[in-house]
């Protein structure tokens, strides 16, 4: 079940996705977090953010929309209050998801978090669809994306994962650009921009009008992007989008993911990750593989061997 990722050995490839797992603390009352491969924090910004007005959540067929708007207590509070609490319930390296309105905000957060030993890697979020400034703007423009990644890389003393937006014409272009700019790994995908309408009130359900679509509905798009990017880049991929079961996780690994992010599934079922982790070994055996490493990219005709 172990996989090598960014130089660490993950006990298993399952990593809760940013924004669906808070800072882990709520889930610690449900199960022992150390069962996880790693965990990704909610997006961290330089200063506290309240986010968008409510309603921030809508149910849609096969998934949900969210327009949280990067609510978080800011990097200082994360360092002073949250990371010490998390250290008591989770002893593996975590992934810190980082967001900002401008490049300088990303750099400020990186500078401050650089010296936190709990953090194993940064995940640069250039794909949040729910904020006016920054966020997805970086993720939908190869030049802006690669500039941000290059400068982040100069500041960062930890491996840099870049989380891509699926709301683009050509995901491979962006993936290549950030790889060239120094990214150590990619996370894909973030949410698709969608909306729901309250037909009784004849207005959008979300106060923010639009929100990010996640859940099983986006799995085919996510799989396709992981598959395409795997063939064109040589850095590892955290694949995510609609993973609910061990079967879904395996699909992402066969498409080319080294690790698998689990997002909205945690909200529906707080035990989603441990259930997936428990089911994986049996499934891998049933499918006739000896280990996860050998399965990475297994659905490609010419499978690359890059472990």
């Amino acid at each position: 079940m172990t996989v090598s990722f960014l130089g660490w050995t993950l006990d298993n490839p399952i990593i809760p996705a940013s924004g669906t797992f808070g800072f882990g603390l709520e889930y610690a009352s449900f199960f022992d977090l150390n069962q996880l491969g790693s965990l990704t924090t909610k997006a961290i910004t330089a200063r506290p953010r309240f986010g968008n007005p409510t309603p921030r959540i809508a149910e849609v067929p096969g998934g949900m929309l969210n327009a949280i708007g990067l609510q978080n207590p800011g990097v200082d509070d994360v360092i002073e209050v949250i990371l010490p609490k998390l250290a008591q319930v989770f002893q593996k390296p975590i992934i810190a998801n980082i967001a900002g309105s401008v490049v300088e905000e990303y750099l400020e957060v990186i500078d401050k978090l650089n010296s936190e030993p709990q953090i194993g890697a940064f995940e640069i979020n250039i794909s949040c669809p729910n904020v006016q400034e920054g966020g997805m703007v970086f993720g939908t423009n190869a030049t802006l994306a690669s500039d941000l990644v290059r400068r982040s890389k100069q500041h960062s003393r930890k491996p840099l994962i870049v989380k891509l937006s699926p709301n683009v014409t050509n995901i491979v272009d962006i993936a290549r650009a950030v790889e060239d700019a120094g990214a150590d790994a990619l996370s894909l995908i973030n949410t698709l921009v969608g909306m729901a309408i309250d037909r009784e009130k004849a207005r959008p359900v979300l106060a923010n009008k639009f929100g990010g679509l996640s859940g099983p509905a986006i799995k085919p798009v996510a799989l396709r992007m992981v598959f395409q990017v795997f063939e064109q880049v040589s850095i590892p991929i955290i694949g995510m989008g609609g993973v609910m079961t061990a079967e879904d996780a395996i699909d992402f690994i066969l498409a080319g993911a080294t690790a698998v992010g689990v997002g909205s599934a945690n909200l529906r079922d707080p035990f989603a990750c441990p259930k997936i982790i428990e089911a994986l070994p049996g499934l891998i055996q049933h499918l006739g593989w000896s280990n996860i490493k050998s399965m990475i990219g297994g659905a490609h005709e010419k499978r690359h061997h890059r472990l």
Binding site: G19, E26, F50, I57
Partner: protein, 241 residues
Amino acid sequence: MSRLVVQSNQWFADKVYQMVLSGAKPHEPGQFVMVEISKGIDFFLRRPFSIADSKNDRLTLLYKVIGRGTSYMTTLIPGDTLDVLEQLGNGFRIDPNRQDVCLIGGGSGVFPLLGLARRLHERGIRPTAFLGFDTKQSACLISELSRVCQVAITTMDGTLGEMGNVCLYQAMYQHSYYYAVGPMAMLKAIAQKTTNGQMSLEERMGCGFGACMGCTIMTKKGPAQICKDGPVFSAGDLIWE
């Protein structure tokens, strides 16, 4: 997370059903549960429902049929099981020394007041309940509440009790403390008169346990999650635009 068994699921009032579940953990009045409507992805999110009452391993929910999920719930029959996330939220805070309290419920807001009234009654407190409904048909819980407290009723069309909006009921402001549950407009009107009380809030929820930040409101003490820091708030902490 538990698998609870439907013991009964019956029509209770106009568009309102009562569901009794067994196998449940104990709950405080004001807490809520997140119910998985069915397996599969037809209903991706769980639905939040307040505890109407909780006794031994029995949990009573009262639910109004609003949309897809609550419509589906009416088709469940005894013996069916439901996956439920239990013991969510903070619940009402009860001060045994505070005797002169009233309960204020508007519409579906009356549901969680049943368990609260019973709990207060166990503690020797006999509050007055002010209940507001649209019309006689939608009125409910009156006989149940009458057993443990005094009940005063308003309906918008005057078909039962006094005519008008419950928050215009002057008598309730004579009590020194309140527990209020109902539509935002009602809560706001009450808070503008007095903030001596607790209010239970509702919002669309992604998780129900503090992970998704879907249900955040700004309070005088900073951002708060309705699902974790609430749903019951001190009226004085809330901010109204």
